[in-house]
């Protein structure tokens, strides 16, 4: 697979307490080498090498049970690694969290009951050395009129905004999100990613787990694909999409030579059922463009893809 990026040589491992750090290490928000974790005989993560540069937005993409939440638990110091090493801004994760460098939205993490949103956020801000100013926080998380509401009496979407606000209240350099949009509808999802972009555009690093390829594609600069506890791909979204989201262009061929179909841009395979043609493409935009200029006559154009689950299964099958 041509698009899978091989990892650069990891930087020399820094022992905790070592005073000298190079600028390059400081710029790495996340660094892990051979990171592994098992629960009893179940291997959740089997040796992950991961690097996230400061300022990057990286998606951790994988099906359910791939090891995404375990990875995040290790990056936040909630779990101790079974093997391997992990550093966040050159420090052990728990130290990075204690220093207020990291903010996180965990899966199914709730809000403190019995208090108002404003009180809750004031308390959370107070835990960090350099919190975001309240008005900036209200703007970024679109809290508006929620500040006086009880934190345990919010709708799902409102609670999600408050959870996001609690995650960024300390103005963290690194924001970690575990399947943040799992319970959101389409509109809420769109708003949420707009907020994340607003936050990330200020030079912060964002690492999020998702099992939606299109979400990784839309929101991330880079996508790391993990499945069965292993990294299986790492690259820009367009490449990952080409590899994983086997996209298809379908139409009915009215006139023209089927031999021309193979030569269209991006086409990897051609299937034909009578006059109905299915092109498997690595880049459907390019395929459609060249189809239009091909001189072929066609109708009933459809563009679609395999779902990610199927792609993963296919890819895992290829690898084993």
């Amino acid at each position: 697979m041509a698009s899978v990026r091989t990892d650069p040589i990891p930087p020399p491992l820094l022992e905790p307490g070592t005073p000298q750090r190079t600028a390059a290490e400081d710029r790495l928000a996340v660094w892990s080498a051979g990171l592994a974790k098992s629960y009893g005989s179940t291997v959740a993560l089997a040796g992950l090498d991961l690097q996230v540069a400061a300022g990057e937005t990286v998606a951790l993409l994988g099906p359910n049970g791939a090891g995404k939440t375990t990875t995040i638990g290790l990056l936040l110091g909630l779990l101790a690694p079974g093997r391997g090493q992990v550093r966040v801004y050159g420090r052990p994760p728990s130290q990075a969290v204690a220093a207020g460098l990291v903010g996180a939205m965990l899966q199914d993490a709730g809000l403190m009951p019995g208090v108002r949103v404003g009180e809750l956020l004031a308390m959370v801000r107070g835990l960090y050395p350099r919190p975001l100013p309240l008005d900036e926080l209200v703007g970024l998380a679109d809290l508006g009129s929620l500040l006086r509401r009880r934190a345990d009496r919010l709708s799902g979407g409102q609670a999600q905004r408050v959870r996001f606000a609690a995650a960024i209240a300390g103005d963290p350099l690194l924001l970690i999100l575990d399947e943040p949009t799992a319970a959101m509808d389409v509109q809420a999802r769109r708003n949420f990613w707009r907020q994340i972009h607003g936050f990330a555009s200020q030079g912060r690093t964002v690492l999020f787990a998702t099992h939606y390829l299109h979400e990784a594609d839309d929101a991330a600069d880079r996508v790391v694909v993990i499945a069965a506890g292993r990294k299986i791909a790492d690259g820009p979204p367009a490449e990952i999409k080409a590899d994983f989201g086997d996209q298809q262009v379908r139409f009915t061929l009215i006139q023209g030579s089927p031999e021309l179909l193979d030569a269209l841009d991006g086409v990897r395979a051609v299937e034909q059922d009578h006059s109905r043609v299915t092109l498997h493409s690595g880049d459907t935009d390019a395929t459609v463009r060249s189809l239009i200029s091909s001189g072929l006559r066609w109708s009933g154009l459809e563009v679609g893809g395999l779902d990610l689950e199927t792609s993963f299964l296919r890819l895992l099958g290829d690898r084993t």
């Binding site: 204690a98 709730g110 835990l127």
Partner: protein
């Protein structure tokens, strides 16, 4: 951390379960019992009835105050994931745990003070300033093992059973600990059990101080033992949850 504790306390003062059970109920029971048993006459420790009952109800209210701020609340916060969110903030586990403990102890103070005020207002209970101070301070320190027990329940028990469990324990410790009826009216075995309970020992501290008896070795011994036992249980329960919480 001060902000964390301040918010926890503010939350307690709005918690209806706390206000009704820890504050209103002991006051109501005090007025009921002094009415039933009569304001005159003596019970244990040779104290006048109103003073003796006041101390029993101070212990009773303080007990629910520390329970309500710990057991059910922590179990609920674990269930909804708030505990996990706090773990990815700079608030250290030690600060979170001690914050919970301090909040629980602080929640006991209004409950204790209001029963005392009710007793003074309704039955003119009189103690010297030094006795008031020593009594309230000793009883307040005495609820520490109960607060630790609440922490242990909060980290051990599931959300659905934490509240009924705490409630059952509260009634059992109240009744068996001689806070409703004097231990001296119970069979001897029950008296032995009662004297080994922290609820009875907290009240015993108050009764002895109010009665002018300085020596209270049994109560101190019982409370120390419960502090050690509950403290270790709380720590064990907390560590067990911390290790599993991110799975």
């Amino acid at each position: 951390m001060t902000g964390f504790i301040a918010l926890e306390m503010r939350r307690s003062l709005r918690d209806v379960r706390y206000l009704v059970i820890a504050v209103a109920m002991p006051i109501g029971l005090y007025l009921l019992f002094t009415g039933l048993y009569g304001a005159r006459g003596q019970r244990a420790q040779g104290l006048p009835q109103p003073a003796e009952l006041m101390i029993a109800m101070i212990a009773y209210g303080a007990m629910w105050a520390v329970f309500s701020a710990t057991g059910p609340r922590i179990a609920h916060e674990r269930a909804i994931g708030w505990t996990r969110h706090l773990r990815v903030t700079p608030l250290t586990p030690a600060a979170a745990l001690s914050g919970k403990l301090l909040t629980a102890l602080a929640a006991a103070l209004p409950a204790m003070a209001l029963v005392a005020l009710t007793a003074v207002a309704s039955h003119h209970v009189q103690l010297s300033a030094a006795q008031w101070l020593a009594m309230l301070a000793a009883m307040w320190a005495g609820v520490l093992p109960l607060a630790l027990l609440g922490l242990a329940i909060g980290y051990f028990a599931a959300d659905e059973i934490a509240f009924p469990l705490t409630m059952a324990l509260y009634f059992a410790l109240g009744a068996l600990g001689g806070l409703w009826m004097p231990l001296s009216t119970m069979p001897l075995t029950m008296q032995d059990i009662g004297q080994a309970l922290p609820s009875n020992s907290v009240a015993e501290l108050g009764w002895r101080i109010a009665g002018g008896q300085a020596s209270m070795p049994r109560a101190v011994l019982v409370l120390t033992a419960w502090t050690l036992g509950s403290g270790l249980s709380a720590l064990f329960a907390y560590r067990r949850r911390a290790i599993r919480s991110a799975s």
